[in-house]
Amino acid sequence: QLYRNRYDGDQVLRITPRGHGEVQFLKELFQNMTVDFWQPSSASLICEDSSVDVHVGHRRTRTLKTQLQQAFIHYEVLISNLQKEMEKQTHSWSSRKRR
């Protein structure tokens, strides 16, 4: 398995904070929840109306989504299963090896 299947079920969410209140909410939320920032490169750089793309582990996706819904913060799922996305891309590698 690629990377020992460690990304199975992980997701990448795009969150778009509107207004200072939502920015503050996200900064506090990510103080206590470990996510991998794809953009911006850290919580301190989150600003209004700018996309926040975060990779969140499969154990935390539900919690994060619930918190965002309860705070009425808009988000979308960019990548629904990171492991599958990588396997899809490395599929060509395996065929290349055969070549």
Binding site: Y3, Y7, V12, R14, D36, F37, W38, Q39, P40, S41, S42, S44, L45, C47, S50, S51, D53, H55, L78, I79, L82, E85, M86, K88, Q89, S92, W93, R96
Partner: protein
Amino acid sequence: SELQYNYEVYHPLGEIQRWMFEMNRTYPHLVDLFSIGRSYEGRPLYVLQLGNRSRHYRKAMWMDCGVHAREWISPAFCQWFVREALGSYQHDSTMRRLMNHLRIFVMPVFNVDGYHYSWKTDRFWRKTRSKNAKYHCRGVDANRNWKVKWCDEGASRHPCDDTYCGPFPESEPEVRAAARFLRKNRKRLQAYISIHAYAQMLLYPYSYKYATIPNFNCVETAAQNAVTALYSAHGVRYRYGPASTTLYVSSGSSIDWAYRHGVPYAFAFELRDTGHYGFLLPEALITPTCTETMRAVRSIALGLLRKC
């Protein structure tokens, strides 16, 4: 051999290093391969110097890729650029003129340890692989470790953060080696380009403050020409402007360091895409991304031969 090397796929570090030696062997009159130092884990930091070696040069340009390990499209572009520059020297008069009047230093993989780690262990690793004795977390953000407004706004002092600025400026051997080489060549360096992903932007100083650079008009025109050239390939729009307002404020960045050391044109590219795939940009998009970026970098390089 070089002819069989596949530029439309991602390659692990070993293959890229073998490719560098092959380019050096295949184009002895146009390429010089050397190491500017060693990484934290002891790997050589290779730079390819492109240009007609029989000609004297007064101007130079530097381009680094792979500063952040997971941004795989970045080293893919540096390889693409080298192939295009060398492969078209004979039949492309513009490229020949560039290579006869300009030395182009290309560092295909800046963060060699991190890039290797992103292939072997963690596909989403960003930083270097240095170890901090006091903390369990590894790595420093190589684009927050330069000695310019070091560890101010937009960088973190916490070793576990992705934007950790390091224990001191130029603490990372990779940053120290590049800074030493750039300082030594700064009189000839007219342009510094650093290739990142993703966001589809072309950024220039300042990153660490909301202010306008003194040669704003020349740099802004060069950036506008570059994104126009990029757009002409596949109709992809890149935003451009000062990094602090176009992306976010960050301190200790390489473009601010290069600009402060007298390089008049310092740019950071954020290549495709805008997030749909993010760092997992499919190999099928390497060709369109690299062809459009090639046009932008050519535009910047050609601008160096003219007076602004």
